[in-house]
């Protein structure tokens, strides 16, 4: 049986008195598109940040190819992290760098590529994402959709093996949302990376997902395919995907 590339084993995380993750178990396989859905504030982004190392669990284990991440030798841990890429909800583009420099940053700072190779890689990604003539513009001069594409180009410029998307379509209109989804699907097929996507775009995101996990009250309460979730008999799952306020109350 294939080992999951990334596996959460009973991961718990507290922020002060607030327990956000209450024992998460989740398996993400190589080349898969895993979509994590759930109510706002249930810890979906926290879950992603565990993978990239921005947040560390209080208990439980994060396994990479079956080995606990924290027990990996430093070199292997660094190697794994170099293969990851993260696309932030608010893009996190650098205001003081232009579009070209933003996309090139991971290469200029961490790779030994020559200037001409970096230029070639960045230009290729910009062309692929339709960002041709805006290389010299600054993020503040771009529309929301353009900024998303720049962030996506930056996330993909290092040819990562795993890409983590934190609500990649927040603030976009339905047409642009669809475009971003198509873009992720196309690039995933083209480059074969493993994708973990946190999203609220239900049901559109189901077309993209190979696996779906529902995080509720700090635990994964459902894990399966699009068909599984659409035919689920769980009231909570059905209430959530239908947006039923009575059965799936929110805090506000």
């Amino acid at each position: 049986m294939t080992l999951p590339l990334i596996q959460f084993v009973d991961i718990k995380k507290n922020f002060g008195a607030n327990q956000v993750l209450k024992g998460v178990n989740l398996s993400i396989y190589k080349g898969d598109i895993m979509v994590v859905i759930g109510k706002s504030g249930t810890g979906k982004s926290v879950l992603l940040k565990h993978i990239i190392g921005l947040v560390h669990q209080d208990s439980g284990q994060l396994l990479i190819d079956g080995k606990p991440l924290h027990t990996l030798p430093k070199k292997e841990r660094l190697f794994f992290k170099r293969e990851l890429s993260y696309m932030f909800q608010e893009n996190a583009l650098f205001d003081f760098l232009n579009v070209f420099e933003n996309i090139a940053l991971p290469l200029t700072e961490t790779s030994r590529d020559t200037r001409s190779i970096i230029e070639e890689k960045v230009t290729t990604r910009m062309v692929q994402l339709g960002l041709g003539p805006i290389g010299k513009k600054f993020p503040s001069q771009l529309s929301g959709g353009m900024r998303k594409r720049v962030a996506l180009a930056r996330a993909l410029v290092t040819d990562p093996k795993v890409v983590l998307f934190d609500e990649p379509t927040t603030g976009l209109d339905p047409v642009r949302k669809k475009k971003v989804h198509t873009m992720i699907k196309e690039y995933q097929e083209q480059f074969g990376f493993t994708a973990v996507i946190v999203s609220h775009d239900i049901p559109q995101i189901f077309d993209l997902a190979q696996h779906i996990a529902l995080l509720d009250e700090g635990k994964i309460i459902f894990e399966g395919t699009k068909d599984d979730i659409l035919h689920s008999r769980s009231d909570t799952v059905n209430a959530f995907i239908r947006g039923d306020e009575q059965l799936c109350p929110t805090d506000t």
Binding site: I52, R82, F88, F94, P106, T110
Partner: protein, 261 residues
Amino acid sequence: MKYIEKLGGATLGGVESIGRIVLFFISGVTRIFVRPFQADKIIDHTWFIGVKSLFVIILTGTFTGMVLGLQGYYSLVKFGSEAALGSAVSLTIIRELGPVLSAIMITARAGSAMAAEIGVMRISEQIDALKTMQIDPIRFLFSPRIMAALISFPLLTAIFDVVGIFGGYLTGSLLLGTNPAIYMDKVIQSVKMVDIAGGFLKSFVFAIVVTTICCYRGYYTHLSTGGGYGAKGVSMATTNSVVQSCVFILIVDYIITYFLV
């Protein structure tokens, strides 16, 4: 009992904060020498801290010298010692006012901008983004700035000193009639290399104090008490960085002066 608890908590918080700032400083300085060297960033920040502060330094230096010339003349003339104006103005500026006022002016202009810029980067997840790209944020944000400050502060202090002495000359000699040759002669006679070196030593230390405090406050915006993780947090961090830098400039100035005199 509650008061003791509060006092204990505040003391522990203070010690923790001092520890964090010292580690922040050591991390930043050691990473200056990590290859590849960030020459382009150091040049950019030297331009921002140094060249862009030039106007305000020249302006404050000139007026400080002019005021010293004015005050010094009317004080010295009472004892018939107005000939000593050159010595009084030059030594006061080179030993004390040059380094201190330059550092305060740079804090107001560049230090506040550093804290605000890094603070905004913190709250908009740009610092987290650096980490996800395996870019060391302290090396990327702090190391070039501290190197640029170590270059800029002494140079700006030197400029302040020169224009300040010239300002004293303007009021003392051109306006109030002290002999210009005597003024300049007294400046040359009284200023020794040890005075200039002492002033430069202060400016180096102030560069470290100001850059470390301002970058630290911005970097840890999210930890600032009462500020939180938003625009208010950045505003608190910026205000705190300026106030604390100015206070520490004066405290450190006293300590260095105590050992120099």
